[in-house]
């Protein structure tokens, strides 16, 4: 057990690419927590997808022993949090388990929208915040300007900001000292009944569910019988340990400490993040204030390309859901795509991550249908239906009106791109709420419909600002608007998986864009194929894909038979990547690509 005064618990707040993971790596390396030969980049990001995309998805922790300049030995617990807006809920709850934050800002870039969103989580959690200006080794580094920006935009004192190059190691020692001297030690009572926060949990195929805990009061020991206060379940603790960042088993955790326990728990769903853990026999009186469970906001269909792989997909989805309570799924049947799942995600990145993991870790090729949000449909009889899938849109004669989810989007952008950003938001039916300047950067706040953002808004934003804009959002509720279901007909047959909800005023434009895109995406067939967009029975856009004219081998004699047959078999294999609708083969990528708007 560690003396409370010698513990410092902290997280790192940063925008993506501002060097959070590299800084964490440096802190771990500098203190000798990991031997040099075991160092690899982004130590805390354990998933391949995290390393590849350079992002953190799940919160990770590491316990660092540090011999400070005052001669004392300290235990530093770092909780590394995701930077992306989709995983904001992970950030906010991780923040509640620690007392301070390092605010890392790239000194060549400045404050970004995600920095803002995450630093507000830290402020909400009453954190002591130490500003760190990273990448000072780069020529474009401008510490004075960025420090000023931190004060202007965020409103915290940046005079003592530490200047760091996580790359060269400069300022790392100063950072460790600041953690010890600037951040408060945790508080807690050793002899009080056990009160521990369930910070996170995940499934491990060897150990079962691993529960990350922060001890508030009391002591948790191996062999204890514990109670989860919200769901009342009782478990026997069979392991206690800390991350360095590999697991290291210990026998007990005291107040202020962060570590993990295992207790033969089978499913992540049995552990509710934010729950309070106490002893069965001698419980604490009041539980901690829990967290709001995260809600999926983006939905799409996932279907196996090869329909024979449906059971494999079910297996993969159930396994992933074991470890990710924020991801919902239910079986779906599509006339066009057969059996699959309608899945709910926290955002688009979350969707992409889950999809990539299914394709990669379970080797199942997927067709992903157009992402959708939840619409509230108010029926004439006064009832309300939640619509997750445009294909399920009820008959309009029974519908009174529709409401759609809106978000408040905060965008920070260098002023030379401001015009493009305003145009983009305007095109996406946005309502401007605020526009302020901090130096040469503008901060715009827009009220936007989520369905306009869910698909390719972020890609478009990056492209019109050459990557200089940053973006964050929060849900602000539902509002009525004139929304209609737009169907796509290929060769006169509706393709349910291509149906989308659109605003009536924008339906013609979207319809035209979609049929034009589909004309390029669908290969030519032996016959010409009309591609139409329609609202109800009314066609609003049409293209015709002309027939292919020549596809034959000029010479085929006795010696060519074997070779020619192989060629045909290859073509057949290529066709498996397509789905047949009536007599038309549609390539799997078409279901997503058709929706991408180029303007």
């Amino acid at each position: 057990m560690t003396d409370l005064n010698k513990i410092r618990n902290f997280s790192i707040v940063a925008h993506i690419d501002h060097g959070k993971s590299t800084l964490a790596d440096r802190l771990i390396q500098e203190t000798g927590t990991v031997a040099g030969r075991d160092m690899k980049e982004q130590l805390l990001d354990s998933m391949d997808i995290e390393r590849e995309r350079g992002i953190t998805i799940k919160a990770n922790t590491v316990r660092i022993d540090y011999q400070a300049d005052d001669g004392e030995k300290y235990v530093l617990n770092l909780i590394d949090t995701p930077g992306h807006v989709d995983f904001a809920y992970e950030v906010s709850r991780s923040m509640r388990a620690v007392e301070g934050s390092l605010l890392v800002v790239d000194s060549t870039q400045g404050v970004e929208a995600q920095t803002l969103a995450n630093v507000y989580h830290a402020i909400d959690a009453d954190h002591e915040i130490v500003p760190v200006l990273n990448k000072i080794d780069l020529p474009a580094s401008d510490c004075d300007r960025v420090a000023e920006q931190i004060e202007d935009v965020i409103g915290i004192d940046a005079t003592d900001a530490i200047q760091v190059s996580a790359k060269t190691g400069q300022g790392i020692h100063e950072t460790l000292e600041a953690i010890v001297t600037h951040l408060p030690a945790p508080t807690g009572t050793l002899d009080a009944p056990l009160k521990a926060m369930l910070v996170d949990s995940w499934y491990d195929s060897y150990l079962g569910v691993i529960v990350l805990v922060r001890i508030m009061d009391g002591v948790l020991k191996k062999g204890d019988r514990i109670r989860m206060m919200q769901n009342g379940s009782i478990h026997h603790v069979d392991r206690i340990g800390v991350f360095r960042p590999q697991m290291e088993m210990i026998t007990e955790l005291g107040p202020g400490e962060i570590g993990f326990l295992t207790a033969s728990i089978k499913q992540v769903r049995d552990t509710r993040v934010g729950d309070t853990i106490t002893h069965e026999k001698k419980p604490c009186e009041t539980p901690l204030e829990g967290f709001k469970p995260s809600q999926p906001v983006v939905f799409c269909g996932l279907f196996p390309v090869d329909s024979a792989e449906f059971e494999d997909l079910r297996d993969a989805i159930e396994k992933l859901a074991l470890n990710d309570a924020s991801f919902s799924h239910e079986m779906e049947t599509s006339a066009a795509l057969g059996f699959g799942f309608r899945c709910g995600f926290l955002g688009l990145l979350h969707l992409e991550v889950i999809r990539d993991r299914i394709e990669r870790e379970y080797n199942i090729e997927l067709i992903t249908t157009a992402p959708s949000v939840i619409y509230h449909i108010y029926m004439r009889d006064g009832s309300m239906i939640e619509l997750h899938n445009p294909a399920d849109m009820p008959d309009l004669t029974h519908v009174d009106h529709l409401e759609e989810p809106r978000i408040k989007a905060t965008i920070l952008v260098p002023d030379e791109y401001l015009g493009d950003v305003l145009k983009l938001c305007q095109d996406r039916r946005g309502i401007q709420e605020d526009l302020t300047y901090a130096g040469s950067r503008a901060m715009v706040v827009y009220d936007l419909p989520l369905n306009e953002v869910v698909f390719d808004f972020y890609d478009r934003l990056k492209s019109v600002t050459k990557g200089y804009a940053s973006f964050d959002y929060q849900m602000i509720g539902y509002r009525q608007d004139y929304l209609v279901k737009m169907s796509i007909l290929v060769n006169d047959e509706p393709v349910d998986a291509l149906s989308t909800m659109v605003h009536r005023d924008r339906a013609e434009m979207r319809g035209r864009a979609m049929v034009e895109k589909l004309k390029d995406l669908i290969p030519r067939h032996m016959f010409k194929i009309p591609i139409q967009a329609a609202i109800g029975g009314k066609v609003i856009a049409r293209e015709t894909l002309s027939a292919m004219r020549k596809d034959v081998t000029a010479k085929c004699y006795g010696g060519d038979m074997t070779r020619k047959k192989k060629l045909l078999e290859k073509q057949k294999a290529g066709k498996k990547k397509m789905r047949q609708f009536g007599k038309v083969d549609i390539p799997q990528e078409a279901f997503i690509s058709a929706l991408k708007l180029d303007n």
């Binding site: 020549k550 596809d551 006795g558 073509q571 057949k572």
Partner: protein, 395 residues
């Protein structure tokens, strides 16, 4: 209990519906043409006696396996078989005739280049028993002949054609079209000129860029320009059907046109999915033995094949073809012919008929026609044969 295949075993061998031929490959050319992906080699010295003995040994070997069969045809292909000594050709034909009884319309074709040197050997070939020559004229335009790497001129080709006409009952020639920078009116003119010759058979191939050829290499680096787009190539194909049809040489296969009765008997064996022996480097065969149809092949390298043929036989491998795959091959080859395929024959091989929905769809969009037991591709369908086959085989 008889096995499910029992009923198939008592049917007459399927190959009998396509005939029985012998293909003999002469692998040498004087120069390699830039578009050609056939197994051809340029050699300084060729010991024709040694080659003759190897061919004879192979003929003897296959004869022992096919006793009692009636031979439909022989085809000397290449390479350039018109580089063979007429005495060698004569000895081969004599040996073949000594082994197999021949059909009433027995045909012996030899591929020939239209140079004056080769035309000088035509009378020798005719005396040896060759009844049909197939000449690689390729173009009636000297500029394009040069581009195609041919070693003859149009004038030479005309002379060689006249000589051939005097020596052989049947003469065919090849033209390559949809060439670089060729226009539709140019091709129409050239084809009309070709049809003015006293001709009863024409092979008209659209230029295909094959990997591993000089054209293929140039194409891969973007240096082969002026190739027609598919729409122009399709227009040229359509014009070809019209012009040849009007001249009485309608297409009996994707790229082959003939007056009635002048079709290549030998090539019909391939398309009607008969049996054929393949002798020589790179030659393939289909051979039915005890009710099982085999695919045979050989090594491509001429020197290695020669040594193997002398030592223990030139066959590299013999692989049994599953009846379902045989059905696929029959379909793939048979639908090239305007006469089409016999659906009962297909079903007997495949164990089931073609998917009725796919057939109906292909009829609806004008790709095939069904006439009783037969299905045939339309001219439009023949030009899209790969897509048609894909639909039928996927069904």
């Amino acid at each position: 209990m008889p096995s499910p295949n029992w009923s198939r075993a008592v049917l007459p061998d399927d190959w009998q519906q396509g005939g029985f031929g012998l293909y003999l490959h002469w692998p040498f050319c004087q120069a390699k043409c830039p578009y050609c992906d056939f197994n051809s080699h340029v050699a300084q010295h060729i010991d024709q006696t040694r080659w003759l003995n190897a061919y004879l040994a192979e003929i003897d070997r296959y004869a022992a396996q096919t006793r009692g069969r009636i031979l439909t045809s022989v085809f000397f292909g290449g390479g350039t078989p018109s580089l063979m000594d007429p005495d060698v050709v004569a000895a081969i034909i004599a040996r073949i005739k000594s082994h197999w009884p021949t059909a009433n319309d027995f045909e012996i074709t030899l591929e020939a280049n239209p140079t004056s040197v080769e035309a000088g050997r035509f009378s020798g070939y005719a005396q040896a028993g060759v009844s049909r020559v197939s000449m690689g004229i390729q173009s009636l335009n000297n500029r394009d002949l040069q581009k195609l790497g041919r070693r003859h001129t149009v004038e030479e080709a005309y002379k060689a054609f006249d000589i051939a006409r005097n020596h052989f009952d049947r003469v065919s020639f090849d033209l390559i079209y949809a060439r670089q920078d060729q226009t539709l009116p140019e091709w129409k003119r050239e084809l009309t000129q070709a049809l003015d010759l006293a001709i009863d058979h024409l092979s008209l191939y659209q230029l295909t860029i094959e990997q591993g050829t000089a054209f293929g290499d140039r194409y891969a680096i973007g240096k082969l320009r002026g190739l027609p787009a598919d729409s122009l190539a399709a227009d040229m194909y359509d014009a070809t059907q019209d012009i040849c049809g009007a001249a009485g040489l309608s297409a009996y296969e994707v790229s082959n046109h003939a007056k009635d009765g002048a079709e290549s008997r030998h090539n019909l064996i391939y398309w009607r999915y008969g049996d054929f022996i393949g002798i020589g480097p790179g030659a393939h065969g289909r051979l039915t033995q005890n009710g099982i149809r085999y695919a045979t092949d050989t090594v491509h390298n001429p020197a290695i094949w020669l040594a193997q043929a002398e030592e223990h036989g030139g066959e590299l491998s013999r692989t049994a073809i599953d009846p379902v795959d045989q059905a696929g091959e029959y379909l793939m080859m048979g639908l090239r012919l305007s006469e089409g395929i016999d659906t009962d024959r297909y079903a007997a091989l495949a164990g089931e008929g073609l998917d009725p929905q796919s057939l109906q769809h292909l009829q609806d969009i004008g790709m095939i026609e069904a006439l009783g037991r037969r299905i045939q591709t339309t001219p439009k369908g023949r030009l899209l044969l790969n897509a048609v086959l894909e639909t039928l085989l996927a069904g």
